[in-house]
């Protein structure tokens, strides 16, 4: 016997809700499944029509991603000694030999340095600024906050040319520092506004109690405010990282040989005789991982974070 309840949803509506969630999950996960499965396909399988759902997994994409290869004359190919490693073998099976290492590893590392560097800087500066805006009498506070927000109102790419020229003059073009500063500049307004919201929710009484308990303002900030803002900091960090990690337009414009990140690099992976789709898919798959891992690590904060404003007082 179950009593009728106003607040408890009925069994049928729970089923409908679950079905909708499952359907939505399938729709959103489909491109991911496509990319990941393509990364494990062989070249011919990746372009077969109709697409193959079941296929023999191959590591060709990953090997090609990390190597550069070349074709050699048939008689030279036949005269080669037997392959020494499994990846030699995979390249030989495609009728080629390894010519050297590709630049993917380097580009990936650039993405990590620039993505996490700018996220750290945005959060560091954003938290301090948000705390000051939340707690102190800042002259022209509302105007400053609006100014910070207004930097977000124009699509960043609209100022691409001036930034390009400035960076060239300052020697920041194609440097890690330049990209970190650029992504921080874009992210900082988001960080300040989001974090100010979170810090506003933390009652001042906690810090006041800490001040009376014998701590300085900065110690109270570190010991009382920061732990309670952890949720907000984590979710803001994820937003910042996702932007910096995925950013494409500025990366194409401002980086080339030295500080190029993975997004502009991945589409340039061209195989011999056409686009090497398994290698592109392998690059995209590896590129997904850091944000995914970062998000999973911070997930317990995230759920509370994205419902901010509803924090229990």
């Amino acid at each position: 016997m179950s009593a009728y309840s106003v607040t408890e949803p009925s069994k049928a509506s729970k089923w409908v809700a679950a079905a909708l969630v499952v359907l939505y999950t399938i729709i959103t996960l489909l491109p991911l499944v496509w990319i990941i499965s393509t990364s494990f396909k062989s070249g011919p399988d990746s372009i077969s029509y109709p697409p193959k759902v079941l296929f023999e997994p191959a590591l060709e994409g990953y090997v090609n991603l990390f190597t550069t290869r070349t074709r050699i004359a048939a008689e030279d190919f036949a005269a080669l000694p037997p392959p020494e490693t499994w990846y030699d073998q995979i390249v030989r099976d495609q009728g080629m030999v390894i010519a050297g290492q590709s630049r993917f590893g380097e580009r990936f590392l650039n993405s990590v340095i620039i993505g996490f560097g700018s996220t750290f800087l945005s959060i560091f500066l954003g938290t301090l600024a948000a705390y000051a805006f939340s707690r102190f009498k800042v002259p022209l506070k509302d105007d400053l906050l609006f100014f910070i927000l207004s930097t977000r109102m124009m699509p960043p790419i609209a100022v691409a040319i001036p930034i390009y020229l400035m960076y060239r003059e300052l020697g920041l073009s194609d440097t890690h520092l330049g990209m970190i500063l650029l992504y921080t500049a874009v992210n900082i307004s988001l960080a300040v506004w989001l974090l100010k919201g979170f810090i506003d929710e933390i009652p001042r009484e906690y810090e006041e109690a800490a001040l009376i308990d014998g701590y300085t303002r900065f110690q109270a900030f570190r010991k009382v405010v920061l732990p309670q803002a952890a949720t907000g900091i984590a979710s803001t960090a994820i937003f910042c990282l996702i932007f910096a990690w995925n950013e494409y337009a500025f990366a194409v414009l401002l980086t080339s040989g030295n500080a190029q990140t993975a997004p502009p690099f991945i589409p340039t992976i061209i195989g011999v005789g056409g686009q090497d789709w398994p290698a592109v898919a392998a690059g995209a798959t590896l590129f997904l991982l850091p944000v995914m891992i970062f998000t999973i690590l911070l997930r317990k904060h995230l759920l509370r974070g994205i419902t901010f404003g509803a924090v229990r007082k």
């Binding site: 009652p203 009484e205 906690y206 006041e208 109690a209 800490a210 001040l211 009376i212 308990d213 014998g214 701590y215 300085t216 110690q219 009382v224 732990p227 309670q228």
Partner: protein, 330 residues
């Protein structure tokens, strides 16, 4: 422990004048209770002494030295807030140890453990020490925040209605406990409350605030028996003082506008006839609601009174309090 002196203290928040020219000396070892309705300036007084807000004018001296330039930490005061005072990310034990670990005190860990255990015992929360602060009931939270003040030995304890969210039994126990701490340690307290019993039983001095002004300062008995105005007279007394027009009874002095009658000022037998409208048996006492002509008043009688609603009682005032048209005592 120290003497705290406030001289000509004023503070406003925006357009609101929270404190106006308040001068007050809290003697060393005194238990001073501040009375007044919401907005009278009680909490503001505590915040100014603690150093959380800066006064617009006036001076605060602790042990003779001005503390206006000192940070809250340097002032060495403890404060119990009305709400929100526990650090939610810490356990009860960590909350209690927090002040002792501060750079100002930096007590060795073994002494901290001992001190925390003692205070937990006093507040009857030893079994809760390892709970998260947020996992406590309201009353337990309030006990922990009192505990966070008691672990220290500050120059003055500032308490903002610390017992208001506790149930009656615990409130009575803690009242005794605070009084014991006051008596045994000779601690100085400045204590805000609405509760008459707390004020009467704990205070050595009572200050009454009205719209940011200190209108009377004295012993609880003085405040109760010799109030300077109807406002002060209404702060204390259960039931409230009855305020009637002066002509309700004969014998009013010239320029008296109101007569103030506490239950002990109302004598039966002889005088004006009053009708009993209601009899409330409270256990240890009985309240009588009377109507005297157009006026109604409340008085006390013995617990087992045979009186019934509708009966008539002759009452007359004895040594009542007289007030003029402005409400000032004559």
């Amino acid at each position: 422990m120290a003497e705290v002196t406030l001289s000509n203290l004023s503070k406003s928040y925006g357009a609101t004048q929270a404190l106006q020219d308040v001068s007050l000396t809290i003697p060393d070892g005194a238990f001073v209770v501040l009375l007044g309705p919401t907005g009278a300036g009680k909490t503001t007084t505590l915040r100014l002494i603690a150093g959380l807000d800066k006064p617009d004018a006036g001076d605060i001296r602790i042990d003779g030295a001005s503390v206006l330039q000192d940070t809250p930490a340097q002032r060495d005061v403890a404060m119990v807030f009305q709400q929100y005072s526990l650090y939610p990310h810490l356990t009860v034990r960590e909350n209690l140890a927090f002040p002792l670990r501060s750079p100002m005190i930096a007590m060795p860990e073994d002494q901290i453990a001992k001190r925390v255990a003692e205070v937990a015992e006093v507040l009857r929360i030893p079994h809760k020490l390892d709970n998260k602060a947020t996992a406590l009931s309201g009353g337990e939270m309030q006990r922990v925040s009192i505990g966070r003040a008691l672990v220290r030995n500050p120059r003055i304890y500032l308490m903002d209605e610390p017992l208001s969210s506790l149930d009656a039994k615990l409130r009575a126990d803690l009242r005794v406990e605070l009084k014991r701490i006051h008596a045994e340690m000779g601690a100085t307290f400045l204590y805000v409350t609405h509760d008459q019993i707390e004020a009467m039983t704990m205070a050595t001095h009572v200050g009454v605030l009205d719209h940011g002004k200190l209108v009377q300062f004295g012993t609880p008995r003085e405040i109760y028996e010799e109030p300077v105005s109807t406002y002060v007279a209404s702060r204390l007394g259960q039931p409230h003082i009855n305020l009637l027009p002066a002509d309700a009874f004969p014998g009013a002095p010239p320029n008296a506008a109101q007569i103030g009658l506490r239950p002990e000022h109302i004598h039966t037998g002889g005088g004006a006839p009053a009708t009993i409208t209601r009899v409330e048996h409270l256990g240890d006492q009985t309240r009588l609601h009377l109507s005297l002509g157009p006026h109604s008043l409340i008085t006390l009688t013995e617990p087992h009174t045979p009186l019934k609603p509708g009966e008539t009682l002759d009452i007359r005032p004895q040594n009542p309090l007289w007030f003029d048209a402005e409400g000032n005592r004559i």
